[in-house]
């Protein structure tokens, strides 16, 4: 199959909802706070600050001082900002005229100030002026570095102290962004400090937020993976096998993807539209829990009723038929066909699988037949010739075969014949899916369970 990176299509102006780590959200609910967001260039500081404003429904009660880019560039980079003025749920309940909406958008734009040419005095005047507002505003300084570069450190620290005093007195909030992550001289002056980090693993981007200090808030989890997909900050909560198991009988629903992943084969894998005879190799990194494996498999294979497809199954990596059945629907065990007639030799695995596939196809009147096996099955099937016959059988008689290998037990020959090679791993409690062949970036498997629904989604790590 040809590999091609496809455009993700036209971005919607309103991105998916932001997901701020719960500890940080609790901190932001304080009556007054100062938050320092640290991180090198392109780590997502601006998007986090903007996402916080969105999350807090700050409407027009904020001032965004931009010392790096012009407000028009900010709006161009993040088109959803024009809707910031409309994210007050109470406001949405009232029907608004176009003129009102336009006016609100204008007002919202006015809250973004171009401070690129500001001298320190002018810059601090703007903040002081805003603090004198009676509305307890949220002031975002993006970023501190250009101003800091123009001042002596002592003067800067002194001004910061005064600002903090005024901020507290005004019951306002100050969010300050700083690029110099190694500079900790301001940490003690802020109530909260978070650090954004970005690194590459196997050529794929990973982003992490460290909750270094959040005064008055118990931090249960000090770091989260996050993505900036859609230009909004979205962190991922840790999945728990118990929660996945508990929900499995009722079923997890995979989010309907509004736009493709950008990778044709991955889309086809998730949409169940791969051509008949496709073999997928799924490699599990050490430590990945079987609950997550089954959750992913339910996304690829569906959890349809037995009538819709036949699932031929061979236990693997400690996953038993009843577990697979609970997560994926009825399974048909793959067993070695017994010989008919005395003295005849047992059939080989390839022949047995072929017979089973044909039998199921016939019984289900031509519905899809899919097979789920572990790499041990291939390894133990026999010699090289028998393995080749098995692969041939999979390609000819089975619509989709998934070969799962754990840890180091990947079968070289399975990788060789696979049309799609996936890898499931886990970083910091977040499950990550990637395709090795064709190459894709990381996708976080987001598991959300609330009163209304239990959903699973695939979110690109960008």
């Amino acid at each position: 199959m040809a590999t091609m990176k496809e455009p993700r299509g036209k971005k919607k102006t309103t991105p998916r909802h932001s997901v701020i780590p719960p500890e940080l959200l609790r901190f932001l609910a304080r009556r007054s706070y100062s938050l320092l967001i640290k991180g090198e260039a392109a780590t997502g500081k601006t998007i986090l600050a903007l996402s916080i404003l969105k999350e807090l429904a700050a409407k027009n009660n904020f001032l965004y001082l931009s010392t790096r880019v012009s407000p028009s560039q900010l709006f161009e980079n993040h088109p959803w900002l024009s809707e910031l003025s409309r994210n007050d749920p109470k406001a949405e309940a009232v029907e608004k005229t176009e003129t009102t909406e336009h006016k609100e958008e204008e007002e919202s734009r006015d809250r973004f100030v171009d401070a690129r040419l500001d001298e320190p005095v002018q810059f601090f005047e703007r903040i002081t002026n805003e603090l004198m507002d009676v509305r307890s505003p949220t002031i975002v300084v993006d970023s501190w570095d250009p101003i800091g570069g123009m001042m002596e450190n002592d003067a800067l620290v002194s001004n910061t102290k005064v600002l903090q005093t005024w901020r507290e007195r005004a019951e306002a909030n100050i969010i300050t962004l700083i690029e110099d992550s190694s500079n900790s001289s301001f940490d003690s002056l802020f109530d909260g400090v978070v650090t954004l980090d970005r690194y590459y693993e196997d050529g794929r981007i990973i982003r992490m937020i460290q909750l270094s200090k959040l005064s008055g808030v118990k931090v249960n989890r000090p770091s989260y993976l996050f993505t900036l997909d859609g230009g909004i900050f979205q962190s991922f909560r840790t999945y728990t096998p118990l929660e996945i198991h508990a929900q499995t009988p009722a079923g997890w629903s995979w989010e309907k993807r509004e736009q493709g992943t950008g990778y044709r084969e991955l889309d086809a894998t998730l949409d169940g539209t791969l051509p008949s005879g496709t073999i997928i190799s799924l490699r599990l990194a050490p430590g990945v829990n079987s609950a997550m494996v089954l959750l992913l498999l339910s996304g690829i294979l569906g959890r349809g009723p037995a009538r819709s497809r036949a699932l031929l199954f061979r236990p693997f990596e400690g996953i038993r038929p009843e577990q697979a059945g609970g997560a994926l629907g009825e399974v048909v065990p793959i067993q070695r066909a017994q010989p008919r007639g005395k003295g005849r030799q047992a059939k080989g695995w390839a022949e047995s699988l072929k017979a089973l596939a044909e039998e199921q196809k016939k019984a289900r009147q031509g519905k899809r037949v899919v097979a789920l096996v572990g790499s041990e099955f291939i390894l133990n099937a026999g010699g090289e010739d028998e393995r080749e016959r098995l692969f041939e059988c999979m390609k000819s008689y089975i619509d989709l075969t998934l070969i799962v290998s754990g840890g180091e037990s990947e079968v070289e020959s399975a990788s060789r014949v696979a049309d799609v090679s996936l890898r499931l791993s886990e970083v910091n409690g977040t499950a990550l899916l990637q395709a090795q062949l064709p190459w894709t970036e990381y996708f976080a498997i987001s598991v959300l369970k609330d009163h209304a629904a239990a959903t699973v989604g695939l979110v690109p790590m960008v």
Binding site: V121, F124, E125, N129, D133, V134, V162, W166, A170
Partner: protein, 127 residues
């Protein structure tokens, strides 16, 4: 003596300017009041006023900007800020050491307090 002292008040809230103007005039001071800082600036001439009271937070032009422009025209005039926010002089001077602001007056301010302040600044009259 009081009659020769001339005061300029700039605050975007008409209620404040009118009550302060009326109260100060009752005590014999000459007062010009503006709600639009741009108009106050347009008509400003150096060496006319003995004292200026400026609101800080105004929509058309903030008090800091107005202060800068007035100060450029009149280096010596006494300027005080009116603010609804609790700011102490020492904090303010720390933040803005180059700003020559004589007093930060907390709003709402009573006429007697304001008159006492004006009188404490004598000799003021430029005439």
């Amino acid at each position: 003596m009081a009659t020769s002292v001339k005061i300029l008040i700039v605050d975007d809230e008409p209620d404040i300017t009118s009550s302060l103007k009326m109260g100060l005039e009752r005590h014999g001071f000459q007062v010009d009041a503006f709600n639009d800082p741009r108009k106050a600036l347009a008509g400003f001439r150096p060496d006319v006023y003995d004292m200026i009271f400026l609101d800080i937070r105004m929509p058309q032009m903030n008090g800091f900007e107005l202060y800068r422009q007035l100060r450029a025209k009149d280096k010596d005039v006494s300027i005080a800020f009116l603010t609804a926010f609790d700011v102490y002089q020492n904090e303010f001077q720390k933040m803005f050491p180059d700003m020559k602001v004589d007093k930060l007056l907390r709003k709402p301010i009573g006429i007697s307090e304001l008159v006492a302040y004006v009188n404490s600044q004598k000799p003021l009259s430029k005439k």
